[in-house]
């Protein structure tokens, strides 16, 4: 039982149709919750010497009024994923999974709380990726899933 409204809302969202649909399709899964953090794993397209999924630790304080922020996560160490093991690409993927941005503490995406700071132009350039109060976690998950199944996703960044 959640003791905080933000956690209660998150739990309701992961029991709802959009999230469960993604679980049922094998797109993503909830790994753990230790509020205000939740670790979720998202499947990736098959690439040589690359994992079948990547985990991300989300910080979800004041969810969903406040945007989430997420960083690639290593399930084996329960810590940040080594930069060489981040997803790699040459265009969209390289920009989104950029360990050089804010020391690898978030993804370079308009739906990320840390990344959108100072990037107001994204609201008009990428409106489909903008988090609004009515959004749920599947908005962020779908954006990552799309990147990990794109032509641009090659393999590990360090490969």
């Amino acid at each position: 039982m959640a003791s905080r409204p933000d956690e209660a809302t998150f739990l309701a969202h992961v029991e709802a149709g959009p999230f469960e649909n993604g679980v049922d399709r094998g797109r993503w899964r909830l790994v753990s919750i230790n509020w205000p953090h939740a670790v979720l794993a998202i499947s990736a397209a098959e690439r040589a010497d690359a994992p079948f999924e990547y985990a991300f630790r989300f910080e979800l304080s004041n969810y969903p009024a406040q945007l989430p922020t997420a960083q690639p996560w290593d399930l084996s160490t329960n810590g940040p994923l080594e930069f060489t093991k981040w997803p790699g690409g040459i265009d969209r993927v390289k920009y989104a999974f950029n360990p050089g941005f804010k020391e690898g503490t978030c993804l370079y995406l308009p739906c990320d709380r840390l990344a959108i700071e100072g990037h107001d132009a994204w609201r008009t350039q990428h409106p489909e990726m903008i988090w609004i109060a009515a959004s749920d976690i599947t908005l962020y998950l779908r954006i990552i899933y799309d990147l990990l199944h794109s032509k641009d996703y090659k393999a590990l960044r360090g490969a």
Partner: protein, 183 residues
Amino acid sequence: MNTNKQENEKGDARELRLFVQGEGLAEIHIAQIDRNATVVELIKAVATKVGGEFAAAEAAGGLVVTFEDEEKEIFQKDTLEKAGIRDRSRVHIHRCRKVKVTVNFNGETAADSFPPSTMVGKVKKWADKKFDIDKIDATEHALQLCGTSTRPDEDTHIGMLTKHPSCSICFDLVPKRRVEGGV
């Protein structure tokens, strides 16, 4: 964790969890309903649970139930079990029998009709073929509702995007652009 869900995962529960999409629903709805219920009772249960435009469509009459990506109507007096609806089945409920889809790309337009239970991803593949976009480059384009910035998920049934009696949708096929702007 939801006990019913755990029981369903073992496959021995009387109650089914169904993924329902349809006319007037804002998102995929999970219906929890006894496997001995009829298809009509499923429709009424969803209407009671979600209300709004779906309930209005139910009250107006003429809703048809189909499986995802299928056109054949499920007989509504049948029980869910007899109709072949199993735990985690995906069904669609709509008054439109067909949805006219128009897709614009690079000044050209393609059009065809699909059952409302058709997934956006399937329409996207049709559009890719119509506009000769190869399989690899296809991942770099998305269907966006005309006049909006909304890009429905590939699992969304096109019936979720239109209502009776319009039964039509317009998409633009747009490139996915990288996010940049100074790091």
